[in-house]
Amino acid sequence: MQVGLHHYLVVSALLFSLGLLGVLARRNLLVIYMGLELMLNAANLALVAFSRYNANLNGQVMVFFIITVAAAEVAVGLSLIVALYRKRQSAHVEDLTSLKL
């Protein structure tokens, strides 16, 4: 069977799920963050694949933007984690329950 759009999308879906698994199962904020990055990349893959198979470059432009924004986001997110760690001496989600009523 010829590799087509579906194949890429399935890979993208699986990668997304792996990222989600990281977010759900891991306790370390940094690893959770990595899981998020994986999910973003999964989306990127889907976009590029769509772009490729729909003869439309807009998807790739979008991915370009996403990568840029993700870079900025990672920088801000990590600095937040650092700030949080300074305050709480922990980067562990179970220690961060101030959302509780």
Partner: protein
Amino acid sequence: MPALPDLLFYAFAGLTLLFGFLCVANPLTRNPVTSAMFLVLTICSLAGLFVLLNAFFLAAVQVLVYAGAVMVLFLFVIMLLDLKEEERRQLNKVALGAGSVAVAVIAGILIKAVMSAKPAAEQLVEGTTKPLGRILFTQYLLPFEILSLLLLVAMVGVILLSKKELK
């Protein structure tokens, strides 16, 4: 015997998923540094997939920005914070189980969605630098400029956040 690109696809896809899995759920260690390293590998494999999709420019950017810049940042932070603790903690089995089930369900649903969609008309497009650059600097000029502003803002924000004493 499948064609080479197909073989390459299966190889990169397999690697991507494998590294991805090892990144988030390495059964041997829970050291974040290991995770970060596997993340780099995942991203590189992904770049391979991008190449297969003829998105050469993006593949390059992916490696440069993600594997280069972002990962260095991650590693810096990991080194900055003394993150040994998680290894000492017990894994929450319930969370892991529930998480896995949820992920499986989501994956199932997504794949089902992908499969149930009609295959699109296969017109192929080349994602080389030139056409991408053209569209980026004509049609998407304004978002592009705004993006630069965003990066500036992020930079200022990060500096502010990382300062020890907030005034």
